[in-house]
Amino acid sequence: MTIFNFYLFDRHGTCLYYAEWNRKKQLTMSKEEEFKLMYGMIFSIKSFASRLSPTDMKEGFLNFTTSKYKLHFFETPSGLKFIMNTDLSVGNMKDVLHQIFSSLYVEYVVKNPLCELDQPVTSELFKTKLDEYIRGLPQFPIKATS
């Protein structure tokens, strides 16, 4: 099991935070371009999924799987979008994403007077805490490769 990377978008589509751990492939496009495509894709899946649904979906789109990776998605009612890519053996990550929201983002970004909410997160404290949290997850272990 392993975790590849993590994106956090606000409701305006701004990528507030990005981090990667065991990501193997780097794209040739810029990070900005990648963020834009990621947000666009999530937006489209979300709206298409809700249009297909005959009833009001409470949670809607949660994750999708390709033959190589699994993308997990969690959105707050305020439109914050938490996205994480893992390998296929990882189960439901909704609780993990919720935890990143409630225990890390709210505590170290929302309550930090020096963080502006509509700007990318620069708080070292958030960065360190998130990294610690992710590395401590049972879903994280992968043999360290040098």
Binding site: E107, V110, N112, P113, L114, S123, E124
Partner: protein
């Protein structure tokens, strides 16, 4: 002060300290303080200026807080001795206002005018990680302002500043007169 009635069925001796008024959620305070820091930040240019501004706001709070506490808790007599005043600040006052006693109270080795109150994680810094470009900013300047106003109001004029040391250290430097007066009281 309607909040005082109703709850106070037990005798005054039994009631716990700092329960004169309902407490509010720490998040409410945190977002208010956050706005105050940002507002002040937009009106100054440097870190020392920002700390001064926060200290001024803290002084406003401190001077009123003193009145409120003495008014409410009739049991508090005004302290006359310097050391008792410092202990009052470090323990009783800190506990009422910040929910716990301050971690430490120390006197400077080389200067009888200077004392330190040390707090590993002051309430106002709980959620703050200072970005590298603002290296020295310590928002507990606000707390320093509160302490300064309380000391001044209790007739122990002093200057209180914040420093990043063992968490946060509040450096209290008393006026010469205060020390002289205290020596007189001691020798009586």
């Amino acid at each position: 002060m309607s909040s005082l009635t109703g709850k106070q069925k037990s005798s005054n001796l039994e009631k716990s300290l700092g329960k004169g008024k309902p407490e509010v959620n720490i998040a409410t305070f945190a977002v208010l303080f956050s706005e105050i820091v940002q507002y002040s930040q937009n009106r100054v240019h440097t870190v020392p200026e920002l700390q001064n501004k926060l200290s001024e706001l803290g002084q406003h709070v401190g001077s009123h807080l003193l009145d409120v506490l003495f008014l409410r808790e009739k049991g508090y007599k005004r302290e006359i001795k310097l050391l008792s005043m410092l202990i009052f600040i470090k323990s009783t006052f800190w506990k009422i206002v910040f929910g716990k006693e301050a971690d430490k109270l120390e006197q400077a080795n080389d200067d009888d005018r200077t004392y330190y109150i040390i707090e590993k994680e002051p309430l106002v810094n709980k959620f703050i990680s200072v970005p590298k470009d603002k290296g020295s900013l310590n928002c507990a300047a606000f707390t320093a302002g509160i302490v300064e106003a309380v000391l001044n109001g209790a007739n122990f004029p002093a200057k209180v500043t914040v420093h990043w040391h063992k968490g946060t250290t509040f450096m209290i430097k008393f006026d010469e007169d205060v020390i002289a007066r205290d020596k007189m009281i001691e020798s009586r």
